[in-house]
């Protein structure tokens, strides 16, 4: 064991060894001279000298020296002590490693998502996302270009405001077409984010609204599709069959401005000059931009929001017809921005981190009980050290150091584990149609987090018992004849207190995980209002592949005809939206003759669906009719509304024949569909309007109701589409059941983690109470023997031991219940179909924990009861 071997330290160590050897030699020589045999003399001399390592150790402490040497000495001593009891060391290290890993894993997920909202961007703390109107979960892009431009130019609180809109596109021109996620961005996009190109340049202000077909490539796209061509700048590539010029390449790791979403390449807002309408209007389809601003130094979010509200107020006053609904501006820091993934993360991950912290606390309490028991059995050694001149602070320092050494090793193990578990976050997200790049990250923040939590844990599980043990007066401990009392009543109280803490901490974990598991079951069992089984969907990248409008129309009809004719297909339809995939389209809708209240949000969800859509999903049309093939571009625009929309716009009236203004056009209601789930099972119902696919459809998703397993039909559907045109990109071919899993992925994360944490908590609490009751019973063996010898029956003994354990359990459960009732309030928002204080869950958890504790107390009680009193009395 050579830790921090100082040169002088080694020499002094050797000299001390020699000095002691000399002492022994002289003692032996004296004894031999008195007539003892060599062997007897040696033994006597060694015995007389005493505990050589202990003497050496105490002597070394007198050398003083640098703090480095002192720490080195203490560490060596701690390691020696830990090596003496490998069982304790391994158990404690493993438990701490798991608990620290639980924390660091959740933290690495927070670090990779909420704390790194925009990879590659400078000072993301100064960035805020802008939302206009009603705040809701997963909002649609809130700004038109003209509104955005006015906000950008008239505010006084931002150094810059950027805007973007992203979607899938097909990269053509190469050997194979490839789907990529493209963003239309304002010219200052990279400037505001604080990103510099690795090659070429980014966009110029004068390019923003003019049709300049320039493109900036993302690093990974440049590497994979263009072979990291160093001369790519200035070359022409093809996007959706249009030639565009590469002007620059973004640095590695830059993936755009929406948290959790990967953008592959960037163009200006209207690079081909085909979107003039969108660039010159303020409402309807022209509301398409997500906006992020960078605050000026020293400006608070509140001040900035006020400033923007003033600007927005003027815009609304100037263009009232374009801004009928709610127009208030709200700002969110990027870590909880509702645009992208962080809204979901902020609702889930901090709570899981709190659970993990409880697990760590619980584990520390458990290790502290083990440590305390160990210190009690080591109290003679501690007393000797104390009487040899070690002061209390030194003793405490040394014992705390043992805890710290343990936790440092545990932290190192956790570090290795976390480097793997941080990457497991992506597992929770099923295959879906978004370019998600959610994962944990393992950077210096996580390492610091591990270091801090392991040190804290080490202090907790070392300091408390150490302080207690060091308090024991040395003389009394040395005089004490036997270990019949477990280190005095103070230690007993501390032990019981620690076990109470473990039970009190594990109960809320169990309650929360029970609530989460039942939520998950309720979500899975809930009826979303549409058929999920026997449905296959496949996206066709028609709109992104560069076909003309007429070509698209022809191809869509062909797809519908061919897929319908496939054997095994019951019904085929087209749609441009799949429910419960965390995505939706929304626009303002104005019922004819309806005067909205000030600040009333008029946004509705909408979906464009072809004939037989409702039939294939088993959504009943309650009034009116479904769409027919005749509802095409030549026919009058028609709508089907759901019950929520009907009730909201025309309460108490017949909605059929009523008209809604959307995107400046009038749509007539021809049917009412039953409500179904749009985003999440536990959403509050939002109005949705269905429009005819052949009138206003944009994206093309083929939706097929199959006779058998939908997966079996996937190749046939793909083939049928490719027979029309082999260049048609087909992607995201999967059963509906698989797509809708996205809606419950956060419930899965919550229940999976909470369940794991609760299991750890249960095991720790039960082993904790078992350990303490067993230990205390063993300490009382002598007393129990006396009681039995004096006539106590076995049942009396059983009761004696059981009662002390059950007292602890009872207090722990009572405290835990109070704690649980507070904690479940935090998770109430995440529950579905179950109250936060659900009595069944609480009762079953209390019963489970109580029963497990009873077993844990019964085992040692049973053992004590069966002891032979005679042998028990002899045992001290």
């Amino acid at each position: 064991m050579k830790w921090f071997p100082g040169f002088g330290f080694q020499r002094r160590n050797r000299e001390l060894q020699e000095e002691i050897d000399a002492h022994l030699q002289m003692a032996i020589a004296d004894r031999v001279a008195r007539g003892e045999t060599a062997e007897a003399a040696r033994q006597a001399a060694v015995r007389e000298f005493g505990n050589i390592p202990l003497v050496q150790d105490v002597t070394r402490q007198m050398w003083g020296g640098g703090w480095f040497e002192q720490i080195g000495r203490d560490v060596r001593y701690a390691l020696r002590q830990l090596r003496k009891s490998p069982g304790f060391t391994i158990t404690a290290t493993a438990m701490l490693a798991v608990a620290i890993c639980a924390n660091s894993t959740v933290f690495s997920w927070i670090d990779g998502t909420m704390l790194r909202p925009i990879p590659g961007a400078r000072d993301t703390d100064d960035l805020v996302s802008l939302q206009r109107g009603e705040r809701n979960f997963s909002p649609t892009p809130p700004f038109s270009y003209l509104d955005y431009r006015d906000l950008r130019e008239q505010n006084h609180t931002f150094t810059g405001i950027l805007a973007y809109h992203h979607d899938w596109i097909t990269l053509t021109g190469g050997a194979l077409p490839e789907r990529a996620y493209i963003a239309n961005v304002s010219a200052n996009y990279f400037d505001v984010l604080g990103i510099k190109p690795v090659l070429g340049r980014f966009f110029l202000p004068e390019e923003e609204s003019r049709p300049v077909p320039n493109v900036v490539l993302g690093y990974s796209l440049w590497k994979t599709r263009y072979a990291a061509d160093p001369a790519i700048v200035g070359k022409s590539i093809e996007i959706a069959r249009h030639p565009v010029t590469v002007i620059g390449v973004a640095p590695e790791g830059v993936v755009g401005a929406m948290p959790g979403i990967r953008e592959d390449l960037w163009v200006t807002l209207d690079p081909l000059g085909t979107d003039v309408w969108r660039m010159t209007h303020r409402s309807g389809g022209a509301v398409w931009l997500n906006v992020i601003g960078r605050l000026r130094p020293g400006v608070s979010r509140g001040q900035a929001a006020q400033d923007l509200d003033t600007v927005m107020h003027n815009i609304v006053a100037a263009f009232p017809d374009d801004h009928l609904g709610d127009n208030r501006i709200t700002l969110d820091p990027m870590w909880r921005s509702p645009f992208g993934a962080n809204g979901y993360m902020a609702a889930t991950l901090p709570i899981l981190l709190a659970f993990a912290a409880v697990v760590l606390l619980l584990t520390s309490a458990n290790v502290a009980t083990l440590t305390l028991v160990r210190f009690v059995s080591r109290r003679r050694e501690l007393a000797i050290r104390q009487s040899l001149g070690a002061n209390r602070i030194q003793l405490v320092r040394q014992m705390v150091l043992e805890g710290v050494v343990l936790s440092i090793v545990a932290g190192a193990v956790a570090l290795v584990l976390t480097s793997w578990t941080s990457k497991t976050f992506a597992w929770f997200f099923p295959a879906n149609s978004n370019p998600l790049i959610l994962n944990g990250s393992m950077d210096h923040k996580v390492v610091i987090g591990i270091a801090v939590s392991s040190l804290l844990a080490g202090m907790l599980c070392g300091a408390l018992p150490a302080w207690r043990s060091a308090h024991a007066p040395a003389i009394e401990v040395l005089k004490a004849e036997s270990a019949s009392i477990s280190g005095g009543s103070r230690n007993r109280k501390l032990l019981s207190g620690l076990v109470v803490a473990q039970i009190a901490l594990s109960l809320p974990l169990l309650v929360c995980s029970g609530l989460f598991l039942r939520t998950l079951r309720n979500l899975a069992g809930a009826n979303p209002g549409f058929e999920q089984d026997h449905i296959l969907t496949a996206s066709v990248g028609l709109n992104i592949a560069g076909y003309s409008h007429d070509e698209e129309l022809v191809i869509r009809h062909k797809i519908l005809d061919r897929v319908s004719a496939l054997p095994g297909v019951k019904v085929a339809s087209l749609t441009d939206w799949i429910p419960m995939t965390l995505g939706h389209k929304g626009d303002d809708a104005y019922p004819e003759g309806y005067v909205p209240h000030p600040h009333e949000s008029l946004q509705v969800y909408h979906a464009e669906v072809a004939p037989r859509y409702f039939e294939s999903l088993h959504i009943p049309i309650l009034e009116g009719r479904e769409f027919t093939p005749d509802d095409d571009e030549k026919a009058p625009r028609v709508l089907i509304v759901d019950q929520t929309a009907a009730r909201r716009y025309w309460p108490g009236q017949d909605p059929l024949g009523k008209r809604l203004r959307i995107w400046g056009g009038l749509f007539t209601v021809v049917g009412v569909a039953r409500n179904s789930t749009h985003m999440l099972v536990n959403e509050s119902p939002e109005p949705i309007v269905y429009m005819s696919f052949f009138q206003v459809g944009y994206e093309t998703i083929v939706q097929v109701k199959t006779e058998g397993n939908p997966v079996d039909l996937a190749p046939a559907v793909e083939n049928a589409i490719h027979e029309i045109d082999t260049r048609l990109p087909v992607f995201d071919v999967r059963p509906m059941r698989e797509s809708t899993q996205m809606a419950s992925s956060f419930a899965v994360i919550q229940s999976a983690l909470a369940g794991m944490f609760a299991l750890i908590g249960l095991v720790l609490a039960v082993t904790g109470i078992y350990g303490v009751v067993a230990y205390r019973t063993q300490m009382r063996t002598h007393e129990i023997g006396v009681r039995m010898a004096l006539g106590a029956s076995r049942v009396d003994v059983l009761r004696l031991v059981l009662l002390q354990g059950l007292w602890i359990t009872g207090i722990g459960l009572a405290l835990g219940l109070a704690f649980a009732l507070g904690l479940t309030r935090l998770i109430a928002r995440l529950l579905y179909g179950i109250g936060a204080n659900d009595p069944v869950t609480v009762a079953s958890v209390v019963t489970l924990l109580g029963a497990m504790s009873l077993v844990a107390c019964y085992l040692p009680a049973h053992r004590a009861m069966r002891r032979n009193p005679v042998s028990a009395i002899r045992e001290l």
Binding site: A22, H23, Q25, A27, V55, L478
Partner: protein, 121 residues
């Protein structure tokens, strides 16, 4: 058990007394650790039995404080040993230790040997 017996019978030395005894022993000439133990036992008529676990830490502490110096020498029996020698600073310390000791003895004595009539008045 051996450890227990060993420590049970030891004579608790008042804090600081051991330092004084060691320094006093070294007044008679340089001595090694074993020699100090023997000398103390001999001169106290087998009453004072200094623990090695107290002696060596004390010697090393005294050396750090500059009250003793040490060097390696051959003993009469050709055994190489570390000899400690008292320094000038150590002698001063011994004088002040002795002063304090005498005060304590006197103080304790005046408590223990109180004359009955004095306490009655």
């Amino acid at each position: 058990m051996s450890e227990k017996d060993q420590y049970k019978n030891r004579i608790e030395l008042l804090q600081g007394t051991l330092d004084m005894l060691i320094l006093q022993t070294l007044q008679w000439g340089p001595q090694h650790g074993y020699g100090i133990v023997q000398a103390l036992r001999l001169r106290s008529g087998d009453v004072l039995q200094v623990e090695t676990g107290s002696l060596y830490p004390a010697l090393h502490r005294l050396e750090r404080q500059g009250w003793v110096q040490s060097e390696w020498k051959q003993s009469e029996s050709k055994q190489k040993a570390r000899y400690y020698r008292i320094t000038a600073k150590g002698k001063k310390q011994l004088a002040s230790d002795l002063d304090r000791w005498e005060q304590i003895v006197e103080a304790i004595g005046s408590v223990m040997y109180v004359k009955p009539e004095e306490s009655a008045s």
